[in-house]
Symmetry: C2
Subunit: 195 residues, 2 copies
């Protein structure tokens, strides 16, 4: 079975999104990232910024909120509502054919297909800290703190919806360190494996 | 900096040892596995079977034993004594030049060098179960139980001596699934990256 649906999970700042975009360009297949957010927006009516934040981040805050303010859409929390919409969209996109999907627990959502190639992209803190300052600019928080906060949310979100641990080798076909290998070399390796 | 000391950590049954042996043959550099056990034997006087078992496996049992029977060699537990001897031997072997070292927390022991390339080899349970029956024969225990027991010991041993989690992508430059990629393809990828 040819594996031509490539899911890319990534640490914040590792360049995983860039790896995915370049890979999709080389393979001439769709790259789904912003498009998923747009589709969830169409489906749910929530703002794209809200979906971007909720779609990959810890549901814990909202769970506590809902304990006090009640549940919202059709009796389920907003987090679960966004998750369900996102899950359905990812399943539909995979049905359309070869593609690259970044983040959003796609490796788990598509686990029953045998044409998925699951990748995890990571790097050491120094590489990621320098990269986020270069890519997204400085903020009041230190880059290290921004990295830790973002990945902590992704980790909790992944655990909550998949009951698996994020960033554990066993969940992926390959994991690659962009800090030591370089972004382009990572694209080369994946391209060669799925071509 | 060229990375020509390759450490290979691996799940039991994944074929990580075979990947290491083939890689060392192709690169024409020493492959250290049994040699480390022999050297620890020379250094400590313990039997090779005992060292094989202690060198990568959970120290927990012995720790509890020592609480009752006292400590043994120079006031430290036998586990720590074997660990120290093994650690020193691995540091010395790396000093000698390019090589492949399998298991024994070598990735952690050599973490201060910048010429190490750290690999984790894993596979799904079905692939590993079939492989251990083919390689090592059947026993009274189910292959799945043998896999779980062995890797649990490796995991605890790694945590105890490194304070890191075993099999987490962040500890390695690359992790590869031999079950989906095949053993020879994994050798190809690593060879190309370190050559």
């Amino acid at each position: 079975m040819k594996k031509n649906i490539i899911t890319i999970s990534r640490e914040f700042g590792s360049g995983g999104r860039t790896v995915g975009r370049k890979l999709a360009e080389r393979l001439n297949i769709p790259f789904y990232d912003g498009e998923i957010i747009e589709k969830v927006h169409e489906e749910t009516g929530f703002s794209q910024d809200f979906i971007k934040e909720q779609g990959e981040h810890s549901p814990t805050k909202s769970i506590f909120s809902y304990a006090f303010v009640g549940r919202d859409v059709n009796g389920i929390s907003i987090n679960d509502y966004v998750w369900n919409a996102q899950r359905k969209i990812i399943l539909d996109l995979a049905e359309k054919g070869p593609c690259v999907i970044v983040g959003r627990c796609a490796d788990f959502i598509l686990r029953d297909r045998d044409d998925c190639f699951n990748v995890f992209i990571h790097a050491d803190e120094k590489f990621k800290a320098e990269r986020i300052v270069k890519e997204y600019g400085e903020t009041d928080k230190s880059p290290e703190k921004r990295l830790r906060e973002k990945d902590k949310k992704r980790k909790i979100n992944y655990k909550y919806y998949t009951d698996q641990d994020w960033g554990v080798c066993d969940n992926y076909d390959i994991s690659l360190n962009t800090g030591t290998l370089g972004i382009d070399k990572c694209v080369d390796i994946i391209e060669e494996l799925v071509k």
